[in-house]
Structure formats: C-alpha cells, structure tokens
C-alpha cells in the first residue's frame, strides 16, 4: 500500500508542480502571493470544458483553449488591476488578488452555475505494473507536468528572455538600467504563467471534477509547494510539489482523514519556523 500511496503522491505532485512553478515565477515580479491563481486555473478548466464539450472539439484543442484563456485572464488581471495598483503594500495587493479571485470565480458561476462537469473522455481502468495501479491518463499527466516544468526551467536558465525575467525579478531597477525592457518582460511572464495555470485547469479537470471551486481547492497546496521549494526556483517548486503531494497521501496513515486539509498548512508552518526562506530558498533582504 505504501508504494501505491507514494505513486499517488507523485500524481498529486504532477498536478501541483506546473502551477507552483508559475506561481513562483509570478511572485518574482509581483512580490506578493497572488491568490487569484486558483481562479486562473478554474477559468482554464471551464475553457477546456467549453471547447471540448460545448463546441465538441477534440481534446488537444481544449488544451490550447485552456492555455489561451488562462493567459488572457492572467494578463487582463494585471493590465486592469495589478499594474495600476503597483506601489501598494504587498498585503493590500494580496487582498486585491483575493478580490480578483472572487470576481473571476463568480463570473464563471454566472455562466455555468455550481454544478459538476467533466470532459468528453471515458474514464479508464488502471494498468497494473509491479503491483501498482496507474491509468494511461495519469501517466500522461505525469509526462505533461514533467515536460512543462523542465521547459520552464530551461527557459529560465538558458534563454535570453529567461535571464531577463530573472534579472527583472531580482532587481527591476537595475534590469531597466541594463536595457531590459521591464514592461515587455512582465507581459511575457504573465502570459506564460497564465497559460501554465490554464493548462493546470485542464489537468485538474481531468483528475478531479470541473466546478467553480476547483482552482480555489488547489490554491493552498500550490502555495505550500512553492514556498517549500523556496520562492523563485522552478526546480525547488517541483521538489516542493513532490513533497507536498506525498505528504498528503502518507498522513492518512497517522492522522484522521478529516485533518488532511490541514497538512499543506502544517508543512508550510513547520518548515517556515525552521527555514524561514523555504527548503531550497536563500535569505533575501527585504526592501
């Protein structure tokens, strides 16, 4: 059973890793935890549903639709809300991001109500490998998640635009002086992260159930993964996601299942008490 639980933990991690990576990148330019990420995920899930079920198009088109919708709402929320409000205290912006999350989630509710939905894909029975169960769909989720995380890591580490993104995150003023077009880099970051959130919405819709709360339910585990990994590192976020994913599964061995929701929070709290900058993060001087 332990083996299955750990495998299940990796599937949890596969759902958490891409949005945790996107969250951590976004945090780099925003400097506050954006609670609206859950709403971007929700919009992605419903966009994929609209394309796949309502328009009857193939599932890969739905994936593109989810990414486009995620990118669009993420960018719009910056253009309409976060950019004009820059300069406010991080906590104020955090509250604003919750307001944005409310607005987006309720807009989804206005059109779709609160009921459950699913893609036009048949559920599958598992394959059995060495006594462990996994479905083809779950394998696909694992692969997609790993590829996305790797691509983002490569982008940040080796490409000019990635280096510019990191420079902007570290020190926007200095980056500007060195001729990095801050605004264009920021827009690119938003679009990239939004697309990843949209994709996460699609993956979450596959794994869970499409309803307006789907993104909100993922928000705290995503935060936990990103903080555990140390804000600002794609690899760290991936490791954080794996730890959170496995911890959520294994805790049922020692804790009543009704306290499982608290696990993400407990991990964050315990970790931060001993390593205030995350497991893999470095101390930074606050400005």
């Amino acid at each position: 059973m332990i083996g299955q639980l750990i495998l299940n933990g990796f599937i949890n991690a596969a759902l958490l890793a891409p949005p945790a990576v996107a969250f951590t990148i976004l945090f780099g330019i925003l400097k506050f935890p954006n609670f609206a990420i859950g709403a971007y995920v929700t919009v992605g899930a419903f966009a994929a549903f609209a394309v796949n079920v309502q328009l009857g198009l193939p599932i890969w088109v739905a994936v593109v639709g989810a990414m486009a919708a995620g990118a669009a709402v993420a960018w719009l929320s910056d253009a309409l809300v976060f950019k004009p409000l820059r300069g406010h205290a991080p906590v104020t912006l955090l509250v604003v991001s919750i307001a944005v999350a409310f607005i987006l989630e309720q807009c989804v509710r206005l059109f779709y109500g609160g009921n459950v939905r699913g893609f036009d894909l048949a559920l599958e029975r598992p394959m059995r490998l060495w006594g462990l169960r996994i479905t083809k769909e779950q394998l696909e989720i694992l692969v997609i998640s790993a590829v996305i995380t790797l691509l983002v890591h490569l982008l940040l580490t080796y490409t000019a635009v990635g280096k510019a993104m990191r420079a902007t995150a570290d020190n926007p003023g200095l980056a500007e002086v060195r001729g990095i077009p801050h605004r264009r880099i920021a827009v690119f970051t938003w679009l990239l992260c939004g697309a990843i959130f949209g994709l996460s919405g699609f993956l979450a819709g596959l794994d869970l159930v499409i309803e307006p709360h789907i993104g909100w339910n993922l928000t705290i585990p995503i935060f936990a993964a990103a903080i555990l990994g140390g804000i600002g590192s794609a690899g760290g976020a991936l490791l954080g996601a794996i730890l959170v994913g496995i911890a959520e599964e294994l805790t049922v061995l020692v804790l009543p299942t009704t306290y499982k929701v608290a696990v993400g929070f407990l991990i964050i709290t315990i970790l931060l008490l001993f390593r205030p900058h995350g497991l893999f993060g470095q101390a930074e001087i606050k400005k």
Binding site: M1, N8, V116, G118, A122, G245, V252, T257, T258, K260
Partner: protein, 416 residues
Amino acid sequence: MTSPRTLIEKTSLPTRRALIQGSAALAVAGLGAPSIARAADPIAIGSLTPNTGGGGPFGPNIAASHRRVVELVNGMGGVLGRPIMLFQEDSETNPEPSARAATKLINVNKVMAILGTWSSSVTLGIMPMCQERDIIQMCTSSSSDIPLRDAKRLVFNFQALSPVWGKAIAELCVQRGFKTYAIMALNNDFTKSMVDSFVAVVGKAAVVEEPFNYNGGQSSYRAEVEKLIARKPAAVFIPSYVQDFTAIYKEIFRAGYEGQVITSSLSTGPQFVQAVGKAADGIIHGFPVPPIGSPVYKEYLAEAGLKDTGQVQHPFGTAGRDQMSVLLLAIEKAGTLEAAKVGAAIHAVTTGPGKTSVTNVVDGLKALRAGKEINFNGASSSVEFDAQNQLKSRAFQLAQIKDGADTVIARLEETT
C-alpha cells in the same frame, strides 16, 4: 439553475439555461412587489432556499415551487381574504449568511413563516431566532437534532430524518447480499446519523469496516479512496454531496475497484452522469422519493412543466410545493396567523383518517371553504406528521444507473 432539472435530464447548455431562467424570472416579475401589496393587508411568507453552495442543484426548484403555489392562491384571492406576499432569499447552504437573511425576512418583511431550508445546519442555525419570534419553519433537513431542539414545535420537516434514510437504504442493500462493506462519509451532520443507522442494519449480516469521514473541497481524494478499498470490500457506501462524490468516484474507478458503489441519490443525477460518462453505470443510489406514478406527482410535473418520464424528478421541488400548500391551507383553516394555532391546523389539514383527501392547494381551499375537513396528500409524500412534526413515513427507492439513466431496483412504499 431554475431551469427544469431532473434526475435524468440531459445537460443543457448554459446559454439556453440562462434564457430559460431569464424568461421564467420575468414571468413572475412583480410577484410580491410592493405595488400589489397595498390592497388588503397581505400575509408575508419567507422562502430561504439553497440556491447556491451544496444545495445548489435543488434550491432553485424549491424556490420555484414556492412561487407557483403563491401565484395560484393569489389568483384565488389569497387566504383569509388577504393576498400572499412571498419574499425569497438564498441560504447559500451556509448558516452564516442565512442568519442575516432570516433576520431580514423576519424584521423587514415581517414574515410569519420561513420555508424551504435544506441543509440541517441552516435549519438549526436560524431556529433560535425563529423560535423567539414564533416563526413557523418548514424544511427538508435530515438532522435528528431538529425535533430535539424545536422546543415550541414550530418546525415541520418534509424530509425523512437521516437515520431513516440510512435504515431504508441499508434494508434495500441487504437484499443484494453483500458480504463486506467499507464506508466513508462527507463530514457533515446529514451523513453522520445516516451512517450509524446504515451500519446497524447491514452489520447484522455482513462485515462492516470502521467508517471514516472526509472533508469536501480537497485537491485530491486518493488517500481516502486507497483507505476505502484497501481490503477489497464487496460494497462501499459513500454518503456525500455531488461535488465531492464526483471526484471520489472518478478515483475509485481509476483505482480499479470492481465492487459495488452505493451512495445517496443527492450525489448522482444528470450532471454527475455527464461528468463521469459511461463509468457511472452500475452505481446504486437510494433516496426518499415522491410517489412516482401517483396522480398528485403527475400534477406536480404539469405545474413544473416537466414530462412524465417515470423517473424521479425534482425530489425537493415537490417538497417545496407541499410546504407552501400545507402552510396556506393551515392558515385558512386556523383563521389566524398565530403560530401555535397555525401549527395545530397544519396537523389538522395533513394528518388523520376520515377526511376529504386533496392533492393541491386550490382543491384544498375550496374544500375548506365548503366546510370540509381535509387531508392533504402531497407530491413529495402523503404528508402525515407525527407529534414531533416529522413525517410518519416516506417512500424510498434504490436505483441503479444503467446507460446513464436510473433503473429502479427496489422500492419501499410509505407505510401509512
């Protein structure tokens, strides 16, 4: 969500639904608006339904039923010569906003009764303020605490208490002869007493693993499902709401569990079938049901604009119709709005033998005005109350999903 919603209805597109909602809402526009309120001193009645949250799939039907009955009665000149003014609020399936909504209904709209609460936490949550002001409550809530806390006997429950559900579903399951059960339940009051009574019945002839609870709104239910199926039970029972059950069921299916999945019908329905597709086939679900096939149930279908499919439709909308009908008949019978007298009249117009049987509010009012004693038989049940204002009995049905639709596999008829 006010569009006709049935347990077997196919999913409609949101755009079409929005249109239906818009037109339905327009059709009733003006109902209860102050302009018509000035005539003869109106009787104010509150409706507090779960239009959003966990009860979202059911609340709009209840609200619509309340409206339809009030329209009918106002068309006949109201009761006691006074028009009815209906004030409707959304409980959000949450006691916190419900308390504020009830405060408004009671103090601003001066309602004499609040109908339609669904989740037990809401019914119980507004109970102190209702009791204090002698406001009658009518609900479809299943917590066994309701009769215990209703000191003034002003709460009339149109739903079976959850121990009754658990027992009935269990009795129907016993007939299927499963040898081992595992149980996990959404962590709320509704499921807790249901699980206890379920275990008490199936436990006599089968091995039942220790039941455990889970919370809704999680990012994964894998750990819970692993625990549930670890010992390969022949059947699993999962009392839940549809949002969490859908995610859990997908996981159960993907985990390769081949045993029997049993739940309450609250967790299934057409949206569930849309969400999980063919994999839904085989699930058994049980539920207190309206008297399908009876003339009064057909009346309800006509009123709600539904086709008779032979399936359970609007399980709570029928109760909403019966709540408002019973209340208005009782007011007419009591000749006053005084809560204790109306409460007594509710028993008088619903319960007891040797009376003229009526199935709708119009016939009921006519009979009362002709000086007859009546016994109201509803679309949700025969509406016979015991001394604690609980239903004496309700029909139960166990259905199995086959090709995406419910097939009845067992029924327990009302015992009265």
